[in-house]
Structure formats: C-alpha cells, structure tokens
C-alpha cells in the first residue's frame, strides 16, 4: 500500500518535468522556435552525454567542484564554531549578533569586485565568495540549534559526571545536529549557485565559464549543457547530504 502510494507520487512528480520537455520538443518541432535559439531536448541531452565523456569538460566540472567544496568546508567550520561559541557565551553573542545582523542581509555578490582586487582572479576570490555566502545560513541555524538545547540534558550529563569540556561534544553538538544539518543543506545549494555565478563573471575555467563562452559564440546547445550539469550536481550533492543526515541522525525521532 505504502509503496504504491509512493510510486503514484513519483509518477505525479515526474509529470511536470516530462510536460516541460514535451512542450520544449513541441515548440521546436512545430517551428515556433528556431533550433538555433532553442535546440531540441534530445540534441541537448545527447550533447550532455557526449561532453561528460570528454576530458576538458570533466576538468571544468572538477574546477567547479574544488571551489565549491573548499568554500563550503570553510563555511561549515566557521559557521558551526562561531554559532556554538555565540550560543555558549553571552559575551561572544553580544559581539557576534550585531555584526551578523549587518552582514547577513548584505548582497555578497557585490563584494566580489573587492575580492577580485584583493585576492586576484584565481581560486582564492571565488572560494572566499562561496564561503561568505554559505556561512550565514549555517551560522544562524547552528546558533539556533545550540541555544535551544534542553538545559535538563546538560544538567543530567553533569550529574552523570561528564567533565565540562566534554559537554560540548557529547551533549550540545549532537543535540544541535538536526538544525546544523538543515543549515548545511541551505548552504550547499547556495554554494552551487554562487560558485557558478562567480565563474560566469570572471574565470578561465569551470562550468560558469563554459556557459559564458557558449553565450559569446551563440552556441545555444552548449549553453544548456552547463546549466543541466549544475542542476544534476546540486541534486547529487543534496542526496549525499541527505544520506549523511540519516546516518548521523539515526538515533533521533523523526529525523
């Protein structure tokens, strides 16, 4: 019963995607859109498979992934540690809170020119931009998760003889884990978006650069390929994070 319900939902979910592809095909084959502007879907997916097999395109993906992971990793480390520190100490909280309040609504992309001037056109400026954008959701949800840990849990751990330094790793961090992982998920999607944008603005390699080169030469097919690739990368990374989440939260109710 359950599985039938699930498969019905899956079918229903595939429907709009199939509809869009059908509409896309229809637009091309009935001649509403010239194939130069809107290449047929079969052609685009064929091109995608063909590109995925080439060494140069794999290198573009690798460049994008390296920047994405580096920025995301920095954001996770900084976000989780600052978030927990702010939740644990009122003094740190008093300093961090107003700074976050000012920096969080700032459009970080606008800082990109400054980063370019300071860090050059290489990996450094892009990784920093990704880290700056992914940092705040992770920081905020860590702070929220850590500051709502039940006091009773901490008291029981102390009564059971856990040393103060261990409470952070044994009690607070695990209890805040669901919230931290939610923040990481948002941060991951943001990283995908930002790394692509940064590569579009200035770069010599990466998926964003592939899109811009295609746009300059009006190769519509090659413009769709990087876009589909980044969407697939986002889906794969999201699924991996989901697997990590269900592994880390295996003891939690309703994880």
């Amino acid at each position: 019963m359950m599985s039938r319900l699930l498969s019905a939902n899956v079918l229903l979910g595939i429907a709009p995607i199939a509809l869009i592809i059908a509409l896309w095909q229809g637009l091309v084959s009935f001649g509403f859109a010239p194939a130069v502007l809107l290449p047929p879907p079969g052609f685009v997916f064929g091109r995608l498979l063909q590109q995925l097999a080439t060494w140069t395109f794999q290198q573009e993906i690798a460049a994008t992934l390296i920047r994405l992971f580096a920025g995301f990793a920095i954001a996770v480390v900084l976000g989780v540690s600052i978030g927990i520190a702010a939740a644990a100490s009122p003094a740190i909280n008093a300093v961090v809170r107003p700074i976050v309040r000012v920096l969080a609504p700032l459009p970080k992309v606008a800082l990109y020119p400054a980063l370019l001037l300071l860090l050059g056109f290489g990996h450094g400026s892009k990784v920093t931009l990704v880290a700056a954008d992914a940092l705040f959701p992770i920081l905020l949800s860590t702070y929220y998760g850590a500051s709502t840990v039940e006091q009773k849990l901490i008291w029981s751990a102390m009564a059971a003889g856990t040393p103060r330094t261990q409470i952070l790793f044994r009690v607070v961090l695990p209890a805040a884990m669901p919230s931290i992982l939610t923040g990481c998920r948002i941060g991951l999607v943001i990283s995908c978006i930002v790394v692509f944008l940064a590569e579009m603005i200035t770069s010599t390699d990466g998926l964003g650069h592939a899109l811009v080169t295609a746009a300059r030469t009006f190769q519509a097919v090659d413009m769709f390929v990087p876009l589909i690739t980044i969407s697939l990368l986002g889906l794969i990374l999201n699924a991996l994070l989901g697997a990590l989440r269900s592994y880390l939260l295996r003891g939690f109710p309703e994880a």
Partner: protein, 261 residues
Amino acid sequence: MTSLAALIRRAAPVLACIGLLVVWQVASLVLKNDSFPTAVEAIWAIPDILGDKEALLNILASLRRMALGFCVAVLISIPLGLLMGRSRSVAAFFNPLLMVIYPVPKAALMPIIMLWLGVGDITKTLVIFLGVSLPVIYHSFEGAKAVEEKMLWSGAAMGLSPSQRLVRIVLPAALPEILTGCRTGLVLALITMITSEMIARQSGAGNILFNALDMGQYDTVFAMIIIVGAMGIFFDAMFERVRARLVRWSEPQFDLPLSFS
C-alpha cells in the same frame, strides 16, 4: 537602567557598521594596496555617484525592475505554496520540479533568456521573478503544512468552504513563515538584480559597479559596494518593521533571514 541596555541594543548594529568600517580603514592603511582604497576615500566617492544624474537614473531603473519582479513573484508564489502545503497531490506534482530548478543559479539563465527576449527590462525582471519565487514557495509550503488540523476541522464544522478555509485559516496561520520567505526573497531580489546587470552590461547598479572595476576606478567600485550593501540592510530593516506589525502575535523563530542566494 533598562533603557540604557535597550539603547545599547538598538545602537549595536550601527556600532557594528562603524566597527567594520574601522577594520576596513586599518586594513587598507596597513596593506597600502593601490587597488584597495581606504574606507574614507570610498565614502567620499558616494556623493559623486549619487550626484550624477545618469547614475541615479540607472539605480532607480534597477530598483523599479526589482520591485516589479518581487511583487509578481510574491503574488504567484504564496497561493501556489499554500496549495502545495494543503494538498498532497499538488505537492507531489511540483516538488521534484522545484528540486531540479533549485540549484540552478537563476542569473545564469540570463544568457539564454537574452537570446529569446533581448537585453531589455523584461529579461531582467523575469530573472528576478524566478529568483524570488522559489524561497517564497518553499516557505509558504512549509507554513501551510504546519497548520493545525484541529483549526481546519473547526472551520469545516462551522461551514467554511475549502477556499474560505484557505484564505481565513491557512493564510493567517502560515503568515509568519510566509513573511520569512518574503524576507529571504527580498535579499535575493537585490542579489539577482545586481548579478543580472553584471551579465547584461547595459544599465543599472551592477553595470556601474563592474564598469568601474574594468576601468580601474577603484574608489567608485568600493563606493558602489557600500551603496548596494546599504540598500540590502535598509530593505531588510524596513521589511522587519512591516513584519513585526503584521504578525505581532508570533515570535520569529530566527530573527534573521536564513536562506539567500
């Protein structure tokens, strides 16, 4: 005594701004880099930009596109999100599609949409619309899903039709969550606005920023960064005031927007 503490809390963001500017000033004095002007130099360049009639018109045109894209996105996304939250089949229909679209940077669609619709206002507004709608749909969806069933049952028992229930029970109950989504969307609208103008260098605030970068007018670059940043902070603060009025009965879960970009 409490008023003094409240005063400090109110002034804290301003102090943080000043602190960040001081850090910037010190860093640029220490680094002595030609392409990194001091905070004071950048601030002095702001009146030049705002005094220039063409630049001002550019920035206003950007803001108009942003407002239009944001409003249309909110008007379409909230009903869709609410419907998704209340009906399983609607949610199952749209969820995979949204998941596929989510990691695609909306501004990256610019070059393709430009091929079809040209470089004009429509393209840029459409991209802003796409960028804003996803978080608003997502938050409306989450908000509508969390509405207590008992309230809906009582509404049904009192003879409200399904559409009346959606407007009179689900909408108010989901409002705090919806507004969180709108707040995220607002910051996103600003980000998408800047990026779309960076890609289609024709007019607007993003165009001024990147043209100055190409021409090596570094104080203009940093002045524009301050202007854009100030816009972000200003919009966010304004929206927070509106939000606080509309949903006075609910404490915000996070007092800061959670997801942007």
